[in-house]
Assembly symmetry: C2
Homo-oligomer: 275 residues x 2
């Protein structure tokens, strides 16, 4: 397959080369991906889940059959999406036997090479988003990061990805971990800042809604400006009196105090570097 | 003035009781506030700024006169807004002599009592938002936190605040520091998470735009759900393999590594408390 010249496929490769899809996984990513692919017209022919219950829940949404036994994987798929938690990836890969079928994982932090013994056609299909099972997202603006073991497979994945997203990128494994790490900071850690804010507010009988206009403006500000250009607040102003008041308020919560100190110091350091 | 019964004013207090406004300060908050008040129909009769240049820049925007000398404060104001950096507050308060005129500060973290020797009519008018001088915000949805030394002054401030915002709250000094602290977490620290994300991405030639759809969804998720209910990512999943990969990527940046570790540990701790 590898000695076929790339040019043979350019402009000729029909989208229809991939029609039938098997999804191994039934979590947040699998659920959103399966629904987006189904909506784009693909046949989801099988869902694998850890339990029949989990597999069926997703299978019902995309009119697919399902299994919780990897030995029963449907061999008719044109592509196999491996969309399970990172910690289960290796174990599941060992149990999969799909010959030369195209297989991709959807993990941000896992190199493409983890699949090299699974098939001679493999790749990565990483949608960069925070998914929940029960909130169906529009894939159109979600960046899909692709990597493949051959130009042909990259083209196959590209044409597939473009059916669900306008934002398809070629990203190598090292870049992908960086993206995943940046996603942890800008999504998970950001959300945790909201968790802490809510806890502080609730202690003083103030609803979290109070800071929502502020949060919206915080995100609006980075639409056209670099984040470090729009920083405000006591750290940015070198306002040590206010910082001391805040730390004093956190005196019974050493962990929040540590987080406050560390980020404040880092903002001050950044400020001094860029001023 | 204090022996006038509150009832005398209820329903009668004309908005016109406050017409002329003096703004002491010409920074981000002062700039946005002056413009909102001017738009609502008030006369901004004077802007004080640290320098004539700063004062004039804002005065021109709101067709006001200006000064950089506190001894020249216009005595005709019906209300004086003290909107300077917290670290300058005490010093400026000492130099102000406005008799019994109503004076308010706009600081989140400063108790109302800082004004008790300035006038017998004082209060706090704290708009909870991240302001920039060059980005004029619509005040309508910005929470305005009010506190005053008397019911009458609270009513005056309330009727004034309602001319620019739909979201006016009575907040005492202790609650206000908590709100300010929560604002630092949900705005400044959140923005710093974006700063770190951008730096990581740029190191691998990836534009920050890549994570913007993710950031938008992160904020969308908390519209109807509590932040801790919508957390995702490796910490939430107890995915120590991915956490190790991320830490490994940060090995040359000890401070980011510390921030990553501390927030990750805190997410795990929270998860275990709420599960």
């Amino acid at each position: 397959m590898f000695d076929v010249k790339l040019e043979t496929y350019i402009g000729k490769m029909p989208e229809s080369e991939i029609k039938k899809i098997v999804i191994i996984g039934a979590g947040n990513v699998a659920t959103n991906l399966a629904q987006a692919l189904r909506k784009a017209g693909f046949d989801i022919i099988q869902i694998y889940g850890r339990t029949n219950h989990l597999a069926k829940a997703l299978a019902d949404k995309v009119r697919s059959s399902y299994t919780s036994n990897l030995s029963n994987l449907n061999m008719e798929g044109d592509i196999y999406f491996l969309s399970v938690v990172d910690s289960a990836l290796k174990d599941i890969i060992k149990k999969i036997n799909i010959g030369d079928k195209l297989i991709v994982h959807t993990s941000g932090s896992t190199p493409i090479d983890i699949l090299k013994n699974s098939s001679s056609n493999y790749g990565v299909f990483y949608p960069l988003q925070t998914f929940s099972k029960h909130k169906k997202l529009d894939f159109e603006n979600i960046p899909v990061c692709l990597e493949a073991n051959s130009d042909r497979n990259l083209k196959l994945l590209t044409s597939l990805a473009k059916t669900i997203s306008k934002n398809v990128k070629n990203i190598n494994s090292e870049q992908r971990v960086a993206i995943h790490l940046a996603a942890v900071f800008s999504c998970n850690f950001t959300n945790h800042m909201f968790v802490i804010a809510e806890e502080i507010l609730n202690k003083y009988d103030i609803p979290f809604d109070m800071v929502k206009p502020l949060i919206h403006e915080t995100v609006k500000k980075i639409a056209d400006e670099k984040p470090h250009k729009v920083q405000t607040g006591p750290a940015k102003r070198d306002d040590h009196e206010t910082i001391a008041k805040h730390l004093n308020m956190l005196v019974n919560d050493k962990e929040y105090m540590e987080i406050y100190k560390l980020i404040t110091e880092n903002i001050i350091k950044h400020k001094n570097q860029t001023e």
